[in-house]
Each structure stands twice: as C-alpha cells, then as structure tokens.
C-alpha cells in the first residue's frame, strides 16, 4: 500500500481525532481567557488577598507540568469520588493550565497600557471600574494578540498530552491505527502534517486578526 493510499484509508479516523483536538483546544482556550482575565486583573488591581490568591494560582499551575495536572484530574480525582471522562478531564486541565499562562500575558498587556491614560480617565471623573472597562481592557486585547497567538498554537500542540489520559484526540487515533497496521512511521507523519496544517491556518488567522485590530497610526 502506497503512502497516499494509506493516508486515504486512515484519514477519516484521524480527522475524527482532529475534530476532538480542535474542540479541546478551542474550549480550553476559552476557559483560559475567561479565567485568565480576572486573574490578571486581580494581580494588577487586586488588594493584597486577591493578589495573593491570583499569584498563588499562577505559580502553582505554571510550576507543574500539564501532564501531571491531567493525571491528577483523571487518575487522581476518582480516589476522592470525582470521576471525569477523559474529554472533560482534558478540557478542565488544559483550560486551567492555559488560564495561568494567559493571565500572565494579559497582565503584561494591562501593565503596558500607559499610566497617563488612566490618570486622564480618573481626571474625567471615571471610577476605577470604568477606566478598566473603557481604557484598559480594549487596549489589553490588542496588545495581547501576539503573545496570545503563541499560547493558542502551544495549546493546540499540547492537546496531544490528552492522549495520555485516553481522550480520543488525534494522537490517540494515530496510536490506535498504528497498533493495528504497524505502519507507525507513516501514520505519525500524517498526524504531524495535520498538526502543521492546523498551526499554519491558525497563524494566518491570528495574523489577520492582529492587523484587523491594530490602532491606526500606532
């Protein structure tokens, strides 16, 4: 069987896995945004206890490997009576993990919004919440796009770790196929190519997004 024929035969199964990979990545990145922004705001504007809690979260999550976190969620939690499906465990693990990294990207972006603009906002009579909403956040979203793009691409690739807890993403499918047809080399070349295509498409989209949201003149 030629490489092309083989590819043709295994592609449907691999694309099923690809769909799971994309789903995992997109939901996890969204969880990461929704958790990451409040954590970042807490690290910049929070009082001492909020700052401490947010910093603690970021340090713990960034200080331990994603794989370890996934194992704790999937293999560890059942011992205290919490059973998660592989897919859910992967989602939660990747989402929380990404939240910690994104929080740092968002924090960097928040802090690069010029202090003088905040002073101008307060001078107009805005409360801190208003200044954050109308001045800081809109600029944060623009400033964060380049580093955030990296996070999305990393996350897509790190989703392969979900294979280790049996989530049926693309690596799992590849492993399954290879264990049946023993064409390990070819199978994973195809898997690699699928990842590559996904990453290239994402980069292109992110690039367009960055340009779309750039501030004229800056």
């Amino acid at each position: 069987m030629s490489f092309l024929e083989l590819t043709w035969n295994i592609l449907p199964k691999l694309l099923e896995g690809t769909a799971i990979t994309i789903e995992l990545t997109l939901i996890a990145i969204t969880i990461g945004i929704l958790m990451g922004i409040p954590v970042a705001l807490g690290r910049v504007y929070g009082n001492k206890s909020i700052y401490t809690i947010c910093t603690f979260f970021v340090e713990i999550i960034r200080g331990t490997p994603l794989l370890t976190q996934l194992f704790i969620l999937y293999f560890g939690l059942p011992s205290i009576g919490i059973m998660l499906s592989p897919f859910k465990a992967a989602l939660i693990g990747m989402g929380i993990n990404s939240a910690a990294y994104q929080a740092e990207y968002f924090r960097g972006a928040i802090q690069s919004v010029k202090e003088e603009q905040l002073i101008a906002a307060y001078s107009l009579g805005m409360r801190q919440g208003q200044a954050i909403r109308y001045i800081v956040l809109p600029q944060m979203f623009r400033l964060v796009i380049p580093s955030w793009s990296n996070e999305l691409i990393y996350l897509l690739k790190y989703s392969s770790m979900a294979y280790m807890i049996q989530a049926p993403e693309i690596m799992s499918q590849g492993r399954l196929i290879a264990s049946r047809n023993f064409r390990t080399f070819e199978v994973f070349i195809v898997v690699a190519l699928i990842y590559l295509v996904l990453v290239l498409v994402l980069s292109k989209l992110l690039d367009l997004m960055e340009r779309r949201f750039s501030i004229p003149g800056l």
């Binding site: 010029k114 003088e116 603009q117 002073i119 101008a120 906002a121 307060y122 001078s123 107009l124 009579g125 805005m126 409360r127 208003q130 109308y134 001045i135 809109p138 600029q139 623009r142 501030i215 004229p216 003149g217 800056l218």
Partner: protein, 252 residues
C-alpha cells in the same frame, strides 16, 4: 470682583524626605486665568494634580466653590468631572478616535445620551479647529492637534475650571502657537484656568494673576504688570529675566 471659585489653603505634600509642597495657599476667581511659574521640580505639577486629588495632598484643604474637595465625604469623581485637566503629554486614549476621546467622559461619567454627547463633542472640536479630524486616531495627529483634542476633551465636560499642566512643553516650537491660541481664546471667553507654563508671552497677555513658586512655596504673586515690572523679590526678578530671555514674547 468675581467670586472665588477655587481656594487652596496650606497645602503640604512630601515624597519621603522630599517636601514638594510646603504650605501653599492661593485663590482663583471665576473667569480668571492664573499662571503658575517656577523652575522645574518646584512642585508646580504636583500642585495641579493635588487640586483634583490625583495626587492626594498630605495636609491642607481645597474648595471648589463651596464644596470642600479634601473632605473625605466628598464624591471625588463628581468633583473631578467638573475640573478639566490638560496634560503635558496630552494623555489621549490611544485606542479611540478623536471623537470618542472627547465623547467618552460624557457618555460614561455624565451619562449623556450618545447623540447629544456626539453633538457636544463636535461643537468643542470645532472650537479648537479639529472638526475635520473626528475619525482620526491620536497617533495620526501632530502634537499640537493632540493637545487641542485634549483641550476639547476637557471642555466637553463643561468644567468649572481647567488645569493646564505645561500644555506646550512637549510640543515642537512651531506647534506651540496653535495651542496657545486656543488657550487665549478660552481665557477670553471667560473660562477659569490655572496654567503651569513657561510661556511668558501667554502669561503677559492673558494672566490675571501670576504665581511664582520655588522650593514648594509661593515666593511672590501678582498681576503681570507687577510681576514683570515691579517685583520686589530678587528671585522673581532673576527667574523672570532668565525665562523671558529663553521663551520671550511668544505668540499671542
């Protein structure tokens, strides 16, 4: 005599060992322009930011009309919305168009409906000669244009007075005139203004009152005629002499 609109009484501010304001008292009357002069690092800018409590003073009291700004019970956001502030570096919101820069305070702080806020903003931008730049972004404008936007932003809030913190110091010399012209127009229209500036031409032309500050205190205060020609204080004379040599009688 017009009534007093701003009253500053015995203001103190230190940063650690460094005393920036060492007991400042002065008054500003309705419709008058007060120009604060003095060498850099003598607390002029700190004094301005103390007036709207962006920099909280350590001691002393400030009144805007009959409201005591320094009273902890005063709603400081409300007070700030009625004191305009124009900064040395313009401090425009870089992600917003010229129109939105001017309009934001109206819709967010004053809760004015968008269409009315737009009309007010355009009117003020017209006043500073920028009605044709509504949809430009700050980074697409010259420094002089940016500073005029920031004046329009302050004006739109319908403030009781406007504080100018070295509004022309960051501008290229050929752009200073357009900003000063707007300020002269404002002063003549009866806006109450407190201006920290080295522009002696402007001070001479429109100031009702000139305050000379040094080392955190007011050394001398008086109308332009007194300050420029009949000053009793050698430091004032020396400073005015030097600064006039440097900045001269620039545009009216």
């Amino acid at each position: 005599m017009p009534e007093v609109i701003l009253k500053v009484e015995n203001l103190y501010k230190s940063y650690g060992e460094l005393t920036v304001l060492n007991g400042i008292s002065f008054q500003v009357r309705q419709g008058e322009t007060t120009v604060i002069i003095g060498t850099s690092g003598t607390g002029k800018s700190t004094l301005l930011t103390c007036i709207n409590l962006i920099t909280p003073p350590d001691k002393g009291r400030i009144w805007l009309e009959e409201i005591e700004i320094t009273d902890p019970k005063t709603d400081i956001n409300l007070v700030r919305s009625s004191i305009g502030m124009v900064f040395q570096h313009f401090n425009l919101f870089t992600h917003l168009t010229v129109l939105d820069n001017v309009r934001l305070g109206l819709t967010v702080v004053k809760k004015i409906p968008k269409d009315r806020a737009t009309a007010i903003s355009i009117e003020k931008l017209n006043l500073v000669g920028l009605a044709d730049k509504l949809n430009s972004y700050p980074a697409q404008l010259s420094g002089g244009q940016q500073q005029r936007v920031s004046i329009a932003r302050a004006l739109a809030m319908d403030p009781k007075l406007i504080l100018f913190d070295e509004p022309t110091s960051a501008l290229d010399p050929e752009l200073i005139g357009e900003v000063l012209n707007v300020m002269v127009k404002l002063a003549e229209s009866g806006m109450t203004m407190v201006v920290v500036s080295h522009e002696m031409g402007f001070a001479r032309a429109v100031a009702n009152d000139i305050i000379f500050m040094e080392n955190g205190i007011i050394v001398e205060e008086g109308d332009p005629e007194t300050m420029f020609h009949h000053s009793r204080n050698p430091r004032t004379q020396e400073f005015l002499h030097k600064i006039t040599e440097l900045y001269g009688g620039r545009p009216k």
